[in-house]
């Protein structure tokens, strides 16, 4: 029965606006429906025989898909770099007319107006509702029980009964606010960034659908419902990475993301099955209640957690499954900001925090999470040092920061991990959108002059501060935030993670556990050092990116330089909001020693206390807090390291001596290893992909499929044909032959009667 609301009537949220929690995901779904319909309509109406509309795309060719009877045409751009700003006349009317006259005017999509309203509007509505629910939840002053709403019974098989149910608690609320808030800003930005793309409605349909699935992921009241969202966001990620699918590299990147994520999903599924087999329930509430039946530190709970973490490693791009995320940059830049920085990739962190009760029962699994996170943080940061593609730098930076989050949730500092998730959503979304703004300007400049230079390569940038002062200033805010400079957001969250690691290394149940025979505290100290070094590298590579992009002389090209200009307000507006959040976002959760000068002390900690409090204490022990003097020293070390990184980058990197991409020479020594990302992709190709392909080709295809299966079928057919041929040979049509056969038969029968049965 649909909408059978049987939330506990006594719950403090019952009867409040929280009853409308189901509308949160439904609003983006509505946007998906409308935009998807418009996309389908335009596909149906726009054929190759309609030259008026797609002047720009006709030259590049339209991809025609035949589905059954109807012919569907996907209009596509010329490829990855022809999408933004086919023509900047509209956005900069009157400012660049003199040199832009030779340019092809490209008509906007016929439904661009509707889509520009619907796409962001559903997000604004969803965000407004989220804020209202948040206020209602705040008014309950720390509700202890999650607010669960059951809508209908989804599936019942044997002992397993899964309800389609949403669960609202403090952790889900934080995620909902991030998703709808940051998502809303990115939707607005997309209006500017994607408006001239021929696939504009399709883009917004996918983006709305993504938000729907993401909200299902964080609101789901059980692992299976969460898994629906988990798979759904993976699907949308695939669709958006391969948004410009006419270029094979983009389509391949989408497939890579999808396939690598499948490996992680396998772990998630196994963990779910183990949970059901041993606890008999998959509801978060039920698991929380019955997790006590699991033996603490036992092999079972460790196995479950490690399988769960495999899922997290896939979704959140941790070693060894991180390889898809850098390739995912093939998608439009706002997609990278929303999906591959702010929300979807943090789903793994959310899953660990959501399963805190399980992870806290297994110090071994928790330490594994922390170690993988720390190694990933350091590893990705080193790669980020030598990337030239501005989005690749940010991609490896994201992998690295996700590593930090896993260090946080791995050591049981769930609130700190979620805190970093939040601040990272702010400053990384800002960085990506800022890079999108840069790429938009670069692309427009190259497009105007019909140049085929790479609009994303930092070697072609330089000195952009002159033309893009807003983007420059705001990206510096984000850079300082990610580097961990006081008082920007990243400082507080990163510091809290590192301080938590240090505190637990000194004295905690986690430190007393052992990991592969190594004492937990030793492991944690190593994790702490890794975190510090990664922080140093973060400061270096981010400053490097800023220097090469915005400082020094311009290397774009002499003709192109005149076309560089700041993005329109619809794009810089969201940047400003994110800039403010990146600056003050850390003040929601100030450390105790700050005395509460800027905001609430440990606000997020208190907020999340009902969800992860007990689990956190189980790993950290009661006395998790450091001496104040120690804490000041740790803060000093962290900030010093960040400052050293920035100063080092400024001292060592000279943008004046950097050659443009067309004059660049390949790296040498270890730099080449870094520039080639440690050859991990090549190694995976050699070790995993090639053998898989070879086994598939040589054994599964030629051996099993062609040899065995086709062989059986063809063999059966051949046998029948042989019988037929023999039968037809016997039917000679010669009566004489028949007579002979008859005689022989008669003699045989007579012989049998006479001699066979004496």
């Amino acid at each position: 029965m649909l909408f059978q609301l049987n939330a506990a009537a006594s719950h403090p949220l019952a009867g409040t606006v929280a009853e409308y929690v189901w509308m949160l995901p439904l609003l983006p779904l509505l946007g998906f429906a409308i935009n998807g319909l418009l996309a389908a309509l335009s596909v149906a109406k726009t054929g190759p025989a309609n030259p008026g509309l797609d002047h720009g795309t006709a030259g590049h060719g339209a991809v025609v898909h035949t589905h059954g009877a109807g012919v569907h045409v996907h209009e596509v751009g010329a490829g990855a770099h022809s999408h933004v700003a086919h023509d900047t006349h509209d956005t900069h009317a009157g400012s660049g007319g003199a040199t832009g006259d030779d340019h092809h005017p490209v008509a906007r999509h016929r439904y661009a107006g509707v889509v520009s309203v619907v796409g962001p509007l559903v997000m604004v509505a969803s965000f407004a509702l989220a804020v209202a629910i948040f206020l209602a939840m705040r008014a309950t002053h720390g509700m202890e029980e999650p607010f669960v709403q059951r809508y209908f019974q989804w599936m019942v098989t044997g002992d397993l009964a899964i309800d389609a149910a949403f669960q609202l608690d403090q952790l889900a609320m934080v995620m909902v606010l991030i998703i709808t808030g940051v998502g809303m800003l990115i939707h607005v930005f997309s209006v500017g960034y994607m408006r001239d793309d021929p696939g504009y409605p399709r883009y917004f349909a996918y983006l709305n659908l993504f938000v729907f699935f993401m909200l299902v992921l964080v609101l789901g009241a059980s692992y299976p419902v969460m898994f629906v969202g988990w798979e759904g966001v993976g699907l949308c990620s695939y669709l958006l990475i391969g948004f410009w699918f006419s270029e094979k590299a983009n389509a391949d990147a989408g497939k890579k993301a999808f396939i690598v994520n499948r490996i992680g999903d396998f772990g998630f599924l196994v963990a779910m099955m183990l949970l059901f087999a041993n606890l008999g329930t998959l509801d978060f509430v039920g698991v929380n209640e019955s997790a006590g039946a699991l033996e603490p530190g036992g092999a079972l709970v460790t196995t479950i957690c490690l399988f769960l973490f495999l899922g997290c490693a896939g979704k959140s791009a941790q070693i060894p499954l991180y390889v898809w995320l850098p390739d995912a940059m093939a998608g439009p830049t706002p997609v990278s900001a929303l999906i591959h920085a702010a929300t979807m990739v943090t789903a793994g962190v959310y899953l660990v925090a959501r399963s805190a009760v399980l992870f806290s029962l297994s110090p071994v699994a928790s330490l594994t999470v922390a170690v993988v996170g720390a190694v990933t943080a350091l590893f990705a940061a080193t790669i980020g040092l030598k990337q030239w593609d501005i989005k690749k730098v940010l991609a490896y930076s994201t992998v690295s920061q996700l590593g930090y989050m896993f260090v946080g949730v791995g050591v049981g500092a769930y609130a700190a991990g979620v805190f970093h998730l939040m601040t990272h959503a702010f400053f990384k979304a800002l960085l990506f959108l800022g890079s999108g703004s840069v790429i938009y300007a670069m692309h427009a400049a190259y497009h105007r002059t019909h140049s085929h230079e790479d609009a994303q390569d930092m070697r072609n940038m330089g000195g952009l501060r002159q033309w893009m002062p807003w983007t420059w200033g705001l990206m510096w805010v984000a850079t300082l935030a990610i580097a961990g400079i006081f008082p920007f957001a990243g400082f507080f969250s990163k510091d809290e993670i590192l301080a938590s690691v240090f505190a637990r290394a000194q004295h905690s149940p986690l430190g007393e556990a052992s990991w592969l025979g190594i004492p937990g505290s030793a492991v944690l100290y190593v994790v702490y050092v890794f975190g510090l070094v990664a922080a140093l590298l973060t400061a270096v590579y981010m400053t490097r990116m800023m220097i090469y992009t915005f400082h020094g002389p311009n290397r774009t090209g002499d003709r192109e330089r005149d076309h560089l200009r700041e993005a329109p307000w619809v794009m810089t507006g969201p940047l400003v909001v994110l800039g403010i959040l990146s600056a003050v976002g850390g003040w929601f959760n100030l450390p105790a020693i700050s005395g509460g000068a800027l905001g609430p002390i440990e606000g997020l900690h208190h907020w999340l206390e009902p969800v992860v409090g007990t689990s956190s204490v189980r790993l950290a022990g009661e006395a998790a807090h450091l001496e104040h003097s120690t804490e000041w020293i740790l803060i000093g070390v962290a900030v010093t390291i960040a400052v050293v990184g920035i100063v080092y980058a400024f001292a060592r990197l000279d943008p004046k001596r950097l050659p443009a991409k067309r004059d660049a020479r390949p790296e040498e020594g270890f730099g080449r290893v870094l520039a080639n990302k440690y050859y991990v992709d090549e190694a995976y190709d050699r070790v995993v992909v090639d053998p898989t392909v070879n086994i598939s080709r040589g054994f599964l295809w030629r051996g099993i499929d062609v040899g065995l299966i086709d062989g059986l079928v063809n063999g059966a057919a051949g046998l029948m044909r042989g019988f037929g041929r023999a039968g037809s040979w016997m039917q000679s049509g010669q009566t004489g032959t028949y007579a002979w056969v008859l005689l022989i038969g008669v003699l045989a029968v007579l012989g049998a009667f006479t001699f066979g049965n004496p």
């Binding site: 039968g727 037809s728 040979w729 016997m730 039917q731 000679s732 049509g733 010669q734 009566t735 004489g736 007579a739 002979w740 005689l743």
Partner: protein
């Protein structure tokens, strides 16, 4: 007397079989079939002395059938000859599979 009759019957039957198997002319094959039928008739009559009159009754039936068969068979042979200008069995193989 019985032994001689059966021996003669066997001899006639064998001649008939050999004729059916070896000859190519449809008329001759037909006649050989008649020979075989009559060889059987002879054994029926001979054995009826031992086993009762039913053998002789059977002979009457066989002769009736043989007469009908001769009528139909000859009609077919004539029809084939009109159609193909030959009654050589080697050339009549339309039922070849």
């Amino acid at each position: 007397m019985l032994a001689e009759s059966l021996a003669l019957s066997a001899a006639l039957f064998t001649i008939g079989v050999v004729g059916v198997l070896t000859r190519r002319n449809a008329i001759i094959v037909f006649m050989c079939v008649e020979l075989m039928l009559n060889a059987v008739n002879l054994s029926f009559v001979a054995l009826s002395r031992l086993y009762g009159v039913e053998g002789q009754v059977f002979v009457v039936f066989v002769m009736t059938v043989a007469a009908a068969e001769a009528a139909v068979g000859l009609a077919i042979v004539i029809a084939i000859f009109r159609h193909r200008q030959t009654v050589n069995l080697e050339n009549i193989n339309l039922l070849k599979g």
